[in-house]
């Protein structure tokens, strides 16, 4: 509190309700109790000392006076007797001196009348003593007459009784005061006892009240704090919905009220955050659902965690049935599941596959989809699942099929007239209809050559359309490249010798087998060597080399020539359909396109490395057995 006021300036409101007020009043109460207990003790001490004082003052002095008076009167009596036997002034003066003492003590006793009956006794002493003094005066007068007998007589008959009665009166005084002193002592003891008991009782009561107050205070201040600790702990655990019971209007209650407000705000902030997150989630859901391609997300156990609207349509499922269920349970497509599995298990080659095609029975026949599955990676942790993008390629498939059909049909259609042409040429060349002149023969040779070219082209076109449509069957077997290369070398040896070129193979004898369709790979190598033969120098320096080496799980096969090379901008295009190097020589340019398709069908790659003017090297890879 910054504006601390002195306690006596507390406003009425705070005084009534505050914890401080409670503490203050409680401690004040304890103070009052202890103060009153102390005051009570002081009063009792006072009473005790007063009663002692009263003994001192009222009785002790009277007793002392009575005793001295007895002594004085006895001395007077002795002086009297002495005087009777031996008159002298000494005796008289002794008498008078003790008379003075007696009167002195008497007057002290008279000043200190405290007891009942004391007055009367003193009066009696006074009277008797006065008579006694008078009698002594008469004795002295009798003495002058010198009548000893009379003197004795007088003494025994008059003076002695007076002396005795005076002394008796003094003794009475003594006794009275002595008795009273005993009484007072008794009453003092009583007072002390009472004081002891009452002080003990009051102290006990004070302690009990004090304990009650301390208990009350600790209960009212400390107990709510435990509740605070408990609730605060829960809030720190993220459970914001905590409210404290508010009773009273003290500081604790105020604190509780503020605490409740804080907790309320935390709850609303929390809700706000959740709402924001929900909004973001809805947004991303909407985006995912609006994507035109199918998306399926699974966790690491292949349970579907997300499937967008397009994917639902493709596989004819609804998200309600899919959430959290196994992919195979929802979509009975083993190939699709296999793709997820490959990614999950990191099967070799999953990375190389851009996409795989799957077939789905649609309403209007089979639909084709290209599926691309990728792992979902989190920074600093393992995969959390996989996501598949499913693209409809039915249309492309149909176009492709149409293209293949078209090529196939066209090729077939070409073949029939080609047959007639070939037959006709054969007829002419065999001179069945009649002999030909040399010029005529040459013309027919030209027709024959080109019809053969046309025939080859048609054949290649058909092969290509088959390869592209995947209709070409692969007959894979384990085979050794040495054997294949030897066959090629032998096939082309004569042709090479004709132009003075050299054709060699450079392959290690112990090279591993590869797993291929032998006819198709032979076709590829034949095509590459055939091409090379066309471009190498015809002056006897031509050289073609077939080589192969192993690399990991692949075989790398290359056909190298020292021809004129291929320009860089052509190096990629050269594998496209109907591309020629521009020299005008050679085939329809389908050979490399077919080679590429064959290599691809084997899961390999093909490319060319070339330096114009120095030669080209065609390289392709095949899987090892």
């Amino acid at each position: 509190m910054t504006t601390e006021a002195p306690w006596f300036l507390f406003s009425q409101k705070i005084m009534k309700k505050s914890l401080r007020y409670n503490l203050f009043t409680s401690f004040l109460l304890i103070l009052v109790i202890f103060a009153s207990s102390n005051i009570w003790s002081i009063i009792n001490f006072n009473r005790l000392s007063e009663s002692i004082d009263s003994i001192m003052e009222s009785n002790y002095r009277s007793i002392e006076a009575a005793q001295y008076m007895i002594v004085a009167i006895e001395r007077q009596d002795s002086a009297e007797l002495e005087h009777m036997f031996a008159k002298s002034d000494e005796t008289v003066s002794a008498f008078n001196e003790n008379n003075k003492i007696f009167l002195g003590w008497l007057s002290r006793a008279e000043d200190n009348v405290t007891e009942e009956g004391e007055e009367e006794i003193l009066q009696k002493i006074n009277e008797k003593y006065t008579e006694y003094i008078t009698s002594f005066t008469r004795l002295i007068m009798l003495d002058r007459n010198n009548d000893q007998a009379e003197l004795y007589d007088y003494y025994y008959t008059d003076i002695l009784p007076l002396f005795e009665s005076t002394k008796e009166a003094c003794r009475e005084l003594l006794a009275l005061n002595q008795n009273s002193m005993v009484e007072r002592k008794d009453s003092s003891l009583k007072v002390a006892k009472q004081a002891t008991i009452s002080t003990a009782v009051i102290s006990f009561v004070a302690v009990i009240i004090g304990l009650m107050l301390v208990n009350y205070l600790s209960r009212n201040i400390v107990r709510p704090l435990y509740d605070f600790i408990d609730r605060t702990k829960r809030i720190s655990e993220g459970n914001y919905n905590q409210q404290l019971d508010i009773s009273g209007d003290d500081e604790i209650a105020q604190l509780a009220r503020e605490f409740n407000t804080m907790a309320d705000k935390l709850v609303s902030y929390d809700e706000m955050n959740i709402n924001k997150m929900l909004e973001e989630k809805n947004k991303s859901d909407a985006i995912v659902n609006s994507i035109g391609d199918g998306i399926i997300v699974t966790d690491v156990d292949y349970r579907v965690t997300l499937i967008n609207r397009r994917a639902e349509m493709i596989f004819k499922v609804s998200e309600k049935d899919t959430a959290g269920r196994h992919l195979l349970e929802i979509i009975d497509n083993k190939k699709l599941f296999g793709l997820f599995k490959d990614v999950r298990e990191r099967k070799e080659g999953w990375k190389a596959k851009k996409s795989e095609e799957i077939e789905v029975q649609g309403e209007d026949g089979i639909e084709y989809y290209a599926v691309n599955v990728r792992p979902i990676r989190m920074p600093d942790s393992d995969d959390i699942g996989a996501v598949a993008l499913i693209k409809d390629v039915t249309e492309f498939k149909e176009v492709d099929a149409m293209k293949s059909d078209f090529i196939s049909t066209v090729s077939h259609e070409f073949r029939t007239p080609l047959t007639s042409i070939t037959m006709g040429v054969g007829l002419l060349l065999e001179e069945i209809p009649g002999t030909l002149t040399d010029e005529q023969k040459e013309m027919v040779e030209v027709i024959k050559e080109d019809s053969e070219r046309l025939n080859k082209m048609v054949g290649e076109l058909l092969d290509l359309s088959k390869l592209e449509s995947g209709k070409m069957q692969m007959e894979l077997q384990d085979y050794n490249i040495n054997k294949l290369a030897e066959y090629i070398v032998n096939t082309f040896r004569l042709q090479a010798e004709e132009i003075g070129a050299e054709i060699v193979k450079d392959i290690p004898e112990n090279i591993s087998d590869f797993r291929v369709d032998v006819n198709k790979v032979t076709w590829v190598v034949t095509n590459l060597v055939g091409n090379a033969l066309r471009y190498i120098p015809k002056d006897g320096s031509g050289r073609i080399e077939i080589s192969a080496k192993e690399a990991y799980n692949k075989l790398i096969i290359s056909v190298k020539d020292n021809g004129k090379g291929i320009k860089e901008n052509m190096q990629k295009k050269i594998f496209d359909k109907f591309v020629q190097d521009g020299s005008g020589q050679g085939s329809a340019g389908l050979g490399l396109a077919i080679s590429k398709e064959i290599v691809k069908a084997h899961g390999g790659d093909i490319w060319v490395e070339s330096v114009p003017g120095e030669g080209s090297t065609f390289i392709f890879t095949m899987n090892k057995a």
């Binding site: 073949r415 040429v425 007829l427 209809p433």
Partner: protein, 119 residues
């Protein structure tokens, strides 16, 4: 002189083949339809039949089977010549009873060689 029956709907093929084979001392008879071809085979009992697979009235395979099932023609060797070149076509032709299969287009000498294998 041996007789060869050519069953093909393409007039130019029939003509060129007929001319060529005539030049090699064969008698060539022609049919442009399957049914007609079958009846010609029955009537004329050729020594060999050259059969195309695509005919206007019926499938070449059917013609092949019909010729094989008829006792009058079952002994006549049949060589299929077709633009179809798939393996299954060839196998199917053999199943139907054809002895050989020549893919169009073919070299005249190849045709002659094949014929000579059977007659």
């Amino acid at each position: 002189m041996k007789t060869i029956l050519v069953i093909d709907d393409e007039k130019n093929i029939r003509r060129s083949v007929s001319m060529y084979l005539s030049g090699h001392e064969y008698i060539v008879i022609e049919s442009d339809e399957g049914l007609k071809g079958i009846s010609m085979a029955k009537d004329r009992k050729p020594d060999l039949i050259l059969l195309d697979l695509i005919l206007p009235d019926m499938d070449g395979y059917l013609v092949c089977r019909a010729l094989r099932e008829n006792p009058e023609t079952e002994e006549i060797p049949i060589v299929v010549f077709s633009a179809r070149c798939r393996k299954e076509d060839i196998e199917k032709a053999r199943e139907c009873g054809a002895l050989d299969y020549i893919t169009k287009p073919f070299e005249p000498s190849a045709l002659l060689g094949t014929i000579k294998k059977y007659i």
